[in-house]
């Protein structure tokens, strides 16, 4: 591993300033469960020479819930989100998504900000340099994506452009279904707020140099909203999602008045199935409606050569999530 400078930031402003330092390749680090693995594997063509530790910024791990909604600091650990009473009571799919990540050991260190901003798991992108050298790819500045003609079983079926890696975050999927807003802060007190799915681009995130995710805001849930988060993995625990779905459905007098259907691990960002949501709104939710909405949700899927199976798989998870939300 290459040597690097390590600075413990004590304020967001300091962290942003350090991350924006000209001439340095700085990276923010919190729980380290993603970044340290990436560094050990040597996946970055130009490895960072400065790590800015965010854990030393006081107060950034707060979980606050009131009538105005939920506000979770970027340093809140996934384990704390999973067991937070207000989150479990009012935004249960956020708690479920946090609980669905990896293993207890990792949830005890991994943070919300890190889960949202982690690197993709594409096995070309993450191929360890020590195993005969890195694999060049578009995301690392190379000319092309090796996945397109390679093994794409875990790659995108929606919105891939150039790069076909999928957003690996589970919490992003649940948060997108909850209309969550991500708070970004940058150098010089810059601050902006974006819907969670707008944080991601096909080649990474919209974060500017020096910019940090500092918090997530979630509006209060609709009174009659019901929701479910389902994650399909190859093994029981540990694995990243092959497909995940967060569904949130509001029912008034048996009629759906609002719906969110968000698919995870199918594209570079949480994929909101807007047409399927529209199909659900205005009618009763039953098995037929769920099947039809699932059909609509996957209608626009563009599988690659090796991942056509993800389409029917995602369709059945969407359908199950809608039905699970009804029961939830």
């Amino acid at each position: 591993m290459r040597s690097f400078r390590h600075v413990r930031a004590t304020t967001v402003a300091e962290a942003c300033a350090l991350l924006a330092e000209p001439g340095t390749r700085a990276r923010a680090n919190a729980g380290g469960s993603d970044l340290l693995g990436a560094l050990k594997d040597g996946i970055y063509p130009e490895p960072p020479d400065l790590l800015v530790d965010l854990k030393t910024i006081p107060g950034l791990d707060a979980i606050e819930a009131d009538e105005a909604g939920l506000r979770v600091g970027a340093l809140a650990r996934l384990a704390d989100i999973a067991r937070s009473e207000p989150i479990r009571a009012h935004w249960p799919i956020f708690s479920q998504a946090a609980q669905a990540v990896a293993s207890p050991q990792i949830r005890n260190v991994a943070t919300l900000g890190g889960n949202l901003c982690q690197e993709v798991r594409c096995w070309y992108f993450r191929y360890p340099a020590g195993l005969g050298g890195s694999i060049d790819c578009l995301r690392k500045g190379g000319p092309r994506c090796p996945a397109v003609k390679g093994d794409t079983r875990y790659h995108a079926i929606f919105e891939g452009r150039g790069c076909f890696a999928v957003c690996p975050s589970d919490t992003a999927v649940a948060l997108a279904a909850l209309d969550a807003i991500v708070v970004l802060e940058g150098p010089g007190g810059a601050r902006r707020e974006l819907p969670v799915q707008d944080v991601y681009t096909p080649l990474g995130t919209v974060l500017e140099p020096g910019e940090l995710v500092t918090a997530v805001r979630v509006p209060p849930p609709a009174e009659e909203a019901r929701s479910a988060f389902l994650k399909f993995t190859v093994r029981e625990p540990i694995d990243f999602a092959v497909v995940s779905v967060a569904a949130s459905i509001t029912l008034r007098d048996g009629v759906c008045t609002d719906a969110r259907l968000v698919l995870g691990a199918v594209g570079p960002r949480p994929y909101r199935a807007l047409e399927a949501e529209a199909r659900l709104i205005g009618g009763p939710i039953d098995e037929r409606a769920a099947v039809e909405a699932a059909e609509v949700a996957l209608a626009g899927a563009k599988p690659l050569r090796g991942n056509a199976y993800k389409v029917p798989l995602a369709r059945s998870i969407v359908m199950r999530a809608i039905l699970a939300a009804l029961e939830g």
């Binding site: 591993m1 020590g130 195993l131 199976y309 029917p312 369709r315």
Partner: protein, 792 residues
Amino acid sequence: MKREYVNIGGRLPRVDGMVKAAGEAMYTGDLSLPGMLHGKLLRSPHPHARLLKVDTAPALTLEGVRAVITGEDTLKFLAGGIASPGNEPYLAFEKVRFVGDAVAAVAAVDEETAERALALIDVEYELLDPVLDPFAAMAPGSPLVHDDAPGNISFETDLSFGNAQRAFATCDYVRYDEFKTAPIRHGFIEPHAALASWDTSGRLTFWGSKQSPYFTYRNMAKALDIPMSKVRIMQSYLGGGFGGKNEMFNLDFCAALLSMKTRRPVRIVVSQEEVLYAYRQRHPAWIKLQSGFMKDGTLVAVDAEIVAEGGAYKGIGALSLYLMCTFLALPYRVANLRAKGCRVYTNTQPSCAMRGHGVPQVRYAAEVQLDMAARELGLDPLEIRLKNAIQSGDTTGNGFEITSCGLSETLLEARGIVERWRGETPADSEPHLKRGIGVASYGYLSGPRMAGHNTSAALIKVHEDGRVGLVTGSTDCGQGSDTVLSQIAAEVLGIHLDDVQYGGMDSEIVPLDPGVFGSRVTFITGNAVKWAAEDVRAQLAGVAAGLLDAEPDDLEFRDRRVFVRDEPDRGLPFAKLVKSAQYSGTGMTILGRGYWAPEDIDLPRFDTGMGNQSGAYSFGTQVAEVEVDTETGRVKVLRLAVSHDCGQPINEMLVEGQLEGSSIGGIGHTFTETIQRRRGQTMNASFLEYRMPTALDACPVEVTHTDTVDEMGPFGAKESGEGVQVAVMPALVSAVHDAVGVWFKEVPITPEVVVEALGRGAEAAQNADARRGADARRDSRDDGRSRDGESA
């Protein structure tokens, strides 16, 4: 019938349990010596290349680097080889043959410096076309992995008895199928580790992580050209092996040579990633299988063509191929067999032994095909197995002599389990969840006869407080042999298990032993321990006879006492007897010595597969119940059961642990595990992406023992734990067929494979109908035959 014992057969806790649970057990990577250097290996990034230049000078200039070695610094010893000389250099010279092949090694003051030094070694490669597929490798004009192996043929076995081709003409029913298995990993948790210390007397002391320390002992002496007696192999605990730690590896050699060069101790511990991409795998196999039956299910003839991908080197692959062929003759009677096997070189990591050693691949094919035939013939899968089950007293066409055999008993037991499970299994709770039950049987050996040295040995030292120390060269790689061997010594000497201290491996005193492979330890080393304990008992009985005025043969050793049989009061405590012997006028040193190997076992004929391989064969039947999610393709294993014949279990708890571990391992092989490669590179060299089952993927495993004893085995014991791995895959595949009506002829059966095979992509619209309550289970079973065929 089984007999009653004090220390045998019960559920005694393992002797190494406490120190391992407490984290106190020291593995080789935990050891360090004063002045110790750290070693690292430079590995080829190319699957196939000629070495034009390896310039170590830049690395040597780095501060903290003490030595750098390449293939040119070695004596170019070639490791491996059974039936013919080996061809694997510990450091490459002339060519590299897979991504991960070792090119050079560095010793430095710390790991970071060694790592940095690797980057400074200047290697010039001339890239050669790689061969990455065994069939392409065999094609005319294909590049050669080894110049002296035309067609990239590593080894061939051609086993034949009866006349299969002629017999097929007499059969009522003949079927032909093609099967394929994936390359998989051993998955041990302790990575390969070596610590070597060379001194000026010319002695090399080596601590390793070895199933068979004496294999390393021999190869180390040859590779360094020093007398074997100058090699001292030490070892304490071993963190798993499963066949992947039999051989001496490049890190072992490099640690030793670097220590010779630097006169400092050198430790090399490879990373888990290195284990996963640069060491060993199970042979992937392509199996063309034809079997012929009579209407009543009698198996008449089998014809098999097996292609096994051997990877870059020979290793012990001849034995692997031999076992693949010969185990088509077991566990069913068959009068006509032809099995042609071909092990092929490719530019991938070398294949070697792994739990079941070649047999799981072919028996997966044979057991699944047997089930296919049973269904075509309208026979129950258990009935066709009972019809053909081998029996004690049989000799297979290639010469396996079956002494004790409880196979039929395990099948009858399995029938009860299947009936009970069918009764307990509720109707499918959801239309997309299909349940199914499958069975498969196995036979396995209790230690293969190898060419050359084959005898296990044991030494027992009696301490003056009446406790004993026991050593053998058979290491405990997690299977529990330290405990089993200690139990055997305790039983013979009439003392308690607590009274036996099992010692670590040290070639200075521990006698020559082949080590751990092929399920040989309980059966072969167990007998050696029994003999050593009997030697101790005879020496002590001589002394006790004088003290008690009795005949030695009339003495009984029990519960830490020695007494005249039927006169328990005429005796003395074991400890007092020991002291009397040691403290008498002339004094006695009580050391027991035992060595054993089964007599009249043939030397293996690797080319023809003929001859008796083992002194005893174990048997068993696996039952599996699965639930297939027909929409997502995910298969959940609900429960497993093993009815097995291991003779007399020495320790029921350890036997169960072995059977459970082996069964759960089979779940991974069937459903999730495979090595993904791209141009020779391993894409999933981590336990995150190489998906072995975790504890949460495990399921309950019911174990039932049969009432058999083996006359030759120690206290009637024979193999347990490795053999069952053979039957897990076919039982699970059969259960999946029972659930959804599709035969999968290629493993692993991952979700995408199931989804594609069930054609859900085209049928998704029908989900609605299915969900509205139509139970598709019956339908899919009935039309299963029309879907038979390749599994994507």
